[in-house]
Symmetry: C2
Subunit: 510 residues, 2 copies
Amino acid sequence: MLNAAGREIPKEIAGRRLKPFKGAFATRPKKRLYGPPMKSFYPGDNKLLESVKEAIKKTELTDGMTISFHHHLRNGDAIVNMIVDEIAKQGIKDIKLAATALFPVHEKLLEHIKNGVITRIEGSLNGPLGEYVTYNGLEEPVILRSHGGRARAVRAGELHIDVAFIGASMADDYGNANGMFGKSAFGAMGFAYADSMHADKVVIVTDNLQPYPVTPISISSTLVDYVLPVESIGDPSGIQTGTMRITRSPARLNIAKNVVKFLAKAKILKDGFSFQAGAGGTSLAVTKFLHEYMKKNGIVGDFVMGGVTGYVVDMLEQGTTKKILDGQDFDLRAVESIGRNPNHVEVSHIEFGDPHSGGCVVHRQTACFLGATEFDLNFNVNVNTHSDGLLLHGIGGHQDAAAGSFVTIVVAPLLRGRIPVIRKEVTTISTPGETVDVIVTDKGIAINPRREDLIEAIKGKMEIVDIEELYKKAKSLVGEPKQPDFEDDIVAIVEYRDGTTLDVVRRLKK
Amino acid sequence: MLNAAGREIPKEIAGRRLKPFKGAFATRPKKRLYGPPMKSFYPGDNKLLESVKEAIKKTELTDGMTISFHHHLRNGDAIVNMIVDEIAKQGIKDIKLAATALFPVHEKLLEHIKNGVITRIEGSLNGPLGEYVTYNGLEEPVILRSHGGRARAVRAGELHIDVAFIGASMADDYGNANGMFGKSAFGAMGFAYADSMHADKVVIVTDNLQPYPVTPISISSTLVDYVLPVESIGDPSGIQTGTMRITRSPARLNIAKNVVKFLAKAKILKDGFSFQAGAGGTSLAVTKFLHEYMKKNGIVGDFVMGGVTGYVVDMLEQGTTKKILDGQDFDLRAVESIGRNPNHVEVSHIEFGDPHSGGCVVHRQTACFLGATEFDLNFNVNVNTHSDGLLLHGIGGHQDAAAGSFVTIVVAPLLRGRIPVIRKEVTTISTPGETVDVIVTDKGIAINPRREDLIEAIKGKMEIVDIEELYKKAKSLVGEPKQPDFEDDIVAIVEYRDGTTLDVVRRLKK
């Protein structure tokens, strides 16, 4: 089957029937929300667990089940390894791991993949696990989803979770929990909401047990089966991973300046402006420059949707935005702010970007600034694989923000060393070109021809280049990179946020 | 069938199979949560409705459907009448009305009951509608549920809601809504949560449309289909109905003092104490005296579960409780507090009292203070009907608080005029005696023999009387009241909070 993004999609794979991508908003949901079993917790019942071992036993975790985790502690997370180690120790096999994302800190899971404890993964792969999957595959293709798409899949019962292990930096013995306070505070807990509402069983894992009732109540006791106190849920300094420093490259700073210039000249940057902040070095620079421009010109935005950083907190505190809607925090200033400022509001990733909800934040954003490992002549963007074919990143909120925002701006250099970022066709489509409006590079700005309104708005105010020109320029400088040597078998599926299949990733020859 | 409370329950009525009450915690849930249809709201879609007429049309409301409302505006509510009038105007018939509670302000619904627009009611009846039902019945018996029991029934799909109309004093055009701000602010919105999560369609009705995104987000846009702006959702001064003034009766003030004395002498009143505040005149006095006692003795409680009044706000502000958990507000000081104080926390009625959730607040309370129209020798309590058989009140949180609290205290005078409050058997069992521990009257305190621990704790410190003694005293003063002249047919079912049938109300002869 050829899908609407022009990719060849098999009808079925590993028993899973694939629906081809039909267009960003072509599919309306026909399902009902998945209803997990009702719980009961009566006086005399006890939720407190004594050990990870007891958690596995009480939740009746067994071969073939699916377990989930959020990734709010990112590369500082200690929970996934802790739980999977114990599962392995108890001889349980064939587990589907549905962590929202996995990081280099989870590299040790490779031993559990090799020994058959983990046979399937649905979730974002960052780093070594992705590399392993690219060369080896698992028993079934990894399912890659956007943040909003994952929330949708959980709510629709397409990603059925037997046991959700939810890390909390503060919880009571009844399971009321948040991520805002405690030694391991990580801020908003957006990823945990869908899992807490739809997993068959829910375990709160905390290193900070406090007297009942813990508030704010991000996750309610009404959704929780067990509470597992542990020594440490992780190292919150691991939240701030490498990508989260503002760029120092003059070329990328120039890209960021041009984004702000574009928005201003096209008269998009005005009172009421809202945007989604990324965490890449260039996106951070955009946030900083936006703030400076808005402050200087007395512009007040309605909201910023996070991933939140200190740069966004500056905007709230200095009055260039009225509110922050926050699904996850990318640095400790953001964590500190959400626990204190009533206009810094936690939202779930259902609210962030689930297309099959009553309406998500990204559908209301003015703009978003997104990165790319590659983009192509059709404005398709790749954030999952590199040009060498290695699967090294998750989709994140990329698809969601691109689909929803009034203007989606991709910021990328034309080249990374000797590798062109612009391609005739991207290696993997993570986000379809129909949802990408503007690409700002260090060698020029291209506008998607679908957006005649934007082309008209900027005409005569700023130089715009044809995307073909950018392609020719890159090609003249470094040529086309070698095509990766792929096998036929599929190691990962790139699901679109509505549950259709956007692309597949094939196994790389060793 | 004879149920565990000793009442004769039919096996089936109006096509509804009844499960007999088996004991307060004898039943564990076996169902799954009801999953409503998934929604979608894409850029370009519009939620804003122009009129009530359009709301009926767009939600495809038709004969036989069930509509729901919350009662946070109590006797000031304008929404139920507004919607039902329009439904009637459009010729729609056979509607099941699932308002959480109806008040005297809804008396005009009688015309719609008589003309067949409303044929069934599931919800609390306060005043004239209850009186009508007692004499006439509807096509099916009215289902009376506790607050927690109603949330459970909605979540279980036993009370299936086609369209929920949710009044909000502040909302945006996307449906993010709260009750905390605006000219019609009513505070916590606890009743609306279950409906917003499980109704097939959700309409936010507001008289205060504000720019997106409205926060705090009590009801999220993700759950909302339509937003209906209206001139007025009601009169918030109607929140403060008659029962919500502190008693001036010396006898009742004495009851309140004895409650505090009992808790202190039995060493229950200490740091960490928590309780549920009622809104009856005597309960209010208990709150006031508790606060004074705790303040004087340096006792700090963990939380108060509301219905919240200004008396509870005093406790928070003067440090005799650390937190308020708030499902509904009973006066405007409480409304003002919840919008401002981060330790005054909104909770849903799932969190308040749903027994088939992962754990509700009432299961964690130290104490609750509840009223009674009647109580009997088995400690059963009636709050629904009067001794003349008239159905005039809902169950409220009575069953939930009684079942959950460590010590459940019923406060009641022995007589109301010439009517004894103590009966051999209550006319209607609203709350089973096994969950009622202490009854404090103006003529003595009785302790349920099941609570040997309490009897032991108070021994020699305070005079306790046998409940038989209280009964004899009342009888000697006013005799037994005449038994109401009931027909055989059943006009209402008193459901226990777990979905079993606790009692039935029979039709009264005209």
